[in-house]
């Protein structure tokens, strides 16, 4: 069989070799004609397919749907105080017993903290819109909903709606973007779980300099009654300046100063000052070391028995996070109340000094959109039932962001 194949091949080859030039020309012409025929057929086909393509629904708006993402956050918690005791905890001088809002990881056992629906879309060439619908197991809340300009000159940008203030480093970040599941104690103590988040307007400007400099001012309602809360009129004004320099290719330093000035009654003022510093050293393509710290001080004017006086309170947190690769990271944080010049007579006989907290965490991200985090915290800031009670908590949390969820800010 093989032999006959070889023979016929040989025969063919010799046949072709003897064909004269004329025959080749004829063959060429034939092929040219065939190609032309194919070309016309192809043209007809492409015309046809163009014709069939255009049968879209006349009024379909699918292409204009906003980016929609679902963010789910849940946890399993082990804690050495029971739930009732934990709900009635106090942070001396800041949060009275039973007055704390605890929307995240409150229960021993299982918690579904929230399901958030995040939306983003361009409105037109001039505005973008963002919304974060925060759904607790039995409450719906508009976490944020605001419009933002995209086309103002001179690097100006205006934001209006309900939004998280850009005060400090941490304030504007959503819970799912924090490095640790717990809010820093000083933020929780001064502003509660939502931080400074309110209806208002914001104006930001980026300087045309080599070094990054950004300045912003905000006018907000000031409804957060942990520090502000004058209900008769809008009362909160926030201003900040942030700057960043790179040292070499790998180290970037970001620093900021912030001020929030509001009223806690129609007459009494509250001022909160903040300084923040973040250093990030890139160790490799997916590896980095981040050291982030913030110090906040609040001067709150309150009525006394004879005249008003100013309560001065302050605290800080400092955290170090080591990103090993794109799957694993770990970190530690230290929280402390550093100043607490207030009337603490309600805590007579209780040691209210040295209020601080230690936290450590290990994180595993199988994919950029999902995250498992194991953390341990030793919290020495709480008074429960008239006694100082240090709390140990071990927690495993799961966070996912599914759908069209945009990248996070730095």
């Amino acid at each position: 069989m093989k032999k006959s194949l070889y023979l016929s091949l040989l025969a063919c080859a010799s046949l072709y070799a003897t064909v004269d030039e004329n025959a080749t020309q004829v063959e060429l012409q034939k092929q040219k004609a065939a190609i032309q025929k194919l070309q016309t057929q192809l043209d007809m086909l492409s015309q046809k397919s163009q014709g069939t393509l255009n049968t879209s629904a006349s009024f379909s708006q699918n292409a204009y749907l906003p980016d929609i993402a679902l963010i789910l956050n849940m946890s399993a918690v082990a804690r050495d105080v029971n739930n009732t005791a934990y709900e009635n905890m106090a942070i001396p001088g800041f949060i009275d017993a039973g007055d704390a809002e605890l929307p995240f990881n409150k229960n021993r056992g299982f918690n579904l903290n929230y399901a958030e629906v995040a939306m983003h879309s361009s409105v037109d060439p001039y505005f973008d819109v963002f919304a974060m619908f925060h759904l607790h197991p039995n409450a719906f809340e508009i976490g944020e909903a605001y419009v933002q300009t995209t086309s103002l000159p001179y690097a100006l940008r205006i934001k209006a709606g309900k939004f998280k203030s850009d005060f400090g480093r941490m304030n504007a970040k959503h819970q799912h973007a924090w490095h640790f599941d717990d809010q820093p104690i000083i933020y929780k103590a001064l502003f509660g779980p939502d931080s400074i988040s309110d209806a208002g307007v914001q104006l930001q400007w980026v300087a045309p300099t080599d070094t990054y400099i950004m300045a912003g001012v905000e006018a907000m309602q000031g409804s957060n009654d942990r520090s502000f809360g004058d209900v008769e009129r809008n009362n909160l004004y926030v201003g900040y300046m942030k700057s960043s320099v790179d040292v070499g290719d790998e180290l970037s330093i970001l620093a900021g100063v912030s001020l929030a000035h509001g009223k806690n009654t129609t007459t009494n003022a509250t001022d909160v000052y903040g300084v923040d510093l973040t250093l990030r050293e890139q160790l490799g393509a997916y590896s980095s070391l981040i050291w982030q710290s913030e110090y906040l001080q609040r001067n709150k004017v309150v009525d006394g028995s004879v005249k008003t006086h100013t309560n001065k309170q302050a605290g800080l947190y400092t955290e170090l996070v080591y990103q090993y690769n794109n799957n694993y990271s770990g970190g530690v944080r230290y929280d402390a109340i550093t100043k607490n010049d207030v009337d603490l007579s309600a805590y007579n006989g209780v040691n209210t000094n040295n209020l601080d907290k230690y936290t450590a965490m290990l994180e595993y991200k199988p994919f950029p959109m999902s995250r498992l985090r194991l953390s341990y915290s030793y919290d020495r800031t709480k008074v429960i039932a008239g006694e100082r009670k240090d709390i140990n908590t071990v927690m495993l949390s799961l966070n996912i962001a599914a759908g069209a969820h945009g990248a996070h800010d730095y």
């Binding site: 361009s122 690097a155 990054y212 960043s244 790179d246 290719d249 393509a285 599914a402 990248a407």
Partner: protein
């Protein structure tokens, strides 16, 4: 006197008024420099040392974007994980998406590997197709033409200059490509595996077949089961070259190389990733290291 000073100041600013052109990656930047010449100042945002999907959005990049007259992006979803927040916070109306100073290069390059269905269950798949088109030297001229057209649009005063630069560069590049393609004819490597599908455009252009990836799915770290399966495929098909990029871990590639008697070739994905200074050096390095 005052008038003269004013005039000189004005003139000098006119003479030295360069367009600030930001590009997200370095190959785009080098092409922009070729076409823009002395009329542009090119700033590259993403370092070629790192994974182009995950450039760290350092605040210093904001001050660069703030002053840009033109932003050229790779597109195809490659910048999705880092650029949008920077663009929002740089407050530069000139380069917002949709403005005259925003150029998405992927709108000009014919994309390959466009998936018919997209789900994150398949990993980090780009819906618009494979965005790593700049590894194919034939795409450089497409970029050059799009950039020349865009520069002429935002800086019509220097249109003739940009046209001339384009013509010169086209001539230079076509000559280079002729030589390059001839050399690639001689390339002995016909079968490879890669870490991530970074080099598909190059491989397709020069008929080199890729038999699989070290990562089981795009953006997912290697697993032992997948690695063993890949070793099996390489043995069955006689694949002797592993294309490793500069930013992923190299342990897995080395392990596979040991088991299959293959060679690990470190291939730059972008200009400068392995020390190349010019476009030609960059593409030469790809060819030399793949073909060896």
């Amino acid at each position: 006197m005052k008038k003269i000073i004013l005039l000189t100041v004005l003139l000098t600013t006119l003479v030295f008024a360069q367009l600030n052109v930001d590009t997200t990656y370095s190959t785009l930047g080098a092409v922009a420099k070729k076409i823009g010449g002395d009329n542009v100042k090119v700033v590259v945002l993403g370092s070629p040392k790192y994974d182009p999907h995950f450039i760290v959005p350092k605040p210093s990049l904001l001050s660069k974007l703030r002053r840009a007259d033109l932003l050229i992006i790779n597109g195809g979803g490659l910048e999705l994980g880092w650029l949008p927040p920077l663009l929002r916070n740089a407050n530069n109306a000139k380069i917002r998406n949709g403005a005259k100073g925003f150029l998405d290069m992927s709108h000009f390059v014919p994309m390959i590997d466009v998936p018919t269905s997209v789900s994150r269950a398949f990993g980090d798949v780009h819906a618009q197709g494979n965005p790593h088109y700049s590894t194919d030297p034939h795409n450089v001229l497409i970029m050059a033409e799009a950039i020349a057209k865009k520069l002429a649009q935002i800086d019509p005063e220097h249109e003739a200059q940009y046209q001339k630069n384009l013509a010169d560069f086209t001539k230079e590049w076509q000559a280079y490509l002729t030589k390059y393609d001839a050399n690639m004819q001689m390339c002995q490597t016909k079968k490879v595996v890669q870490y991530h599908e970074l080099f598909n455009y190059f491989l397709k252009r020069y008929n080199i077949k890729s038999y699989g990836n070290i990562e089981p799915l795009p953006g997912i770290a290697p697993s032992s089961r997948h690695t063993l399966a890949l070793i099996q495929i390489m043995r069955e098909n006689g694949v002797k070259t592993i294309l490793q990029d500069v930013y992923h871990e190299r342990k897995t590639a080395k392990f596979i190389a040991d088991k299959t008697d293959a060679r690990v070739a470190i291939i730059p994905h972008d200009l400068g990733a392995e020390g190349s200074q010019t476009l030609q050096e960059f593409y030469n390095k790809i060819a030399n290291r793949i073909c060896k």
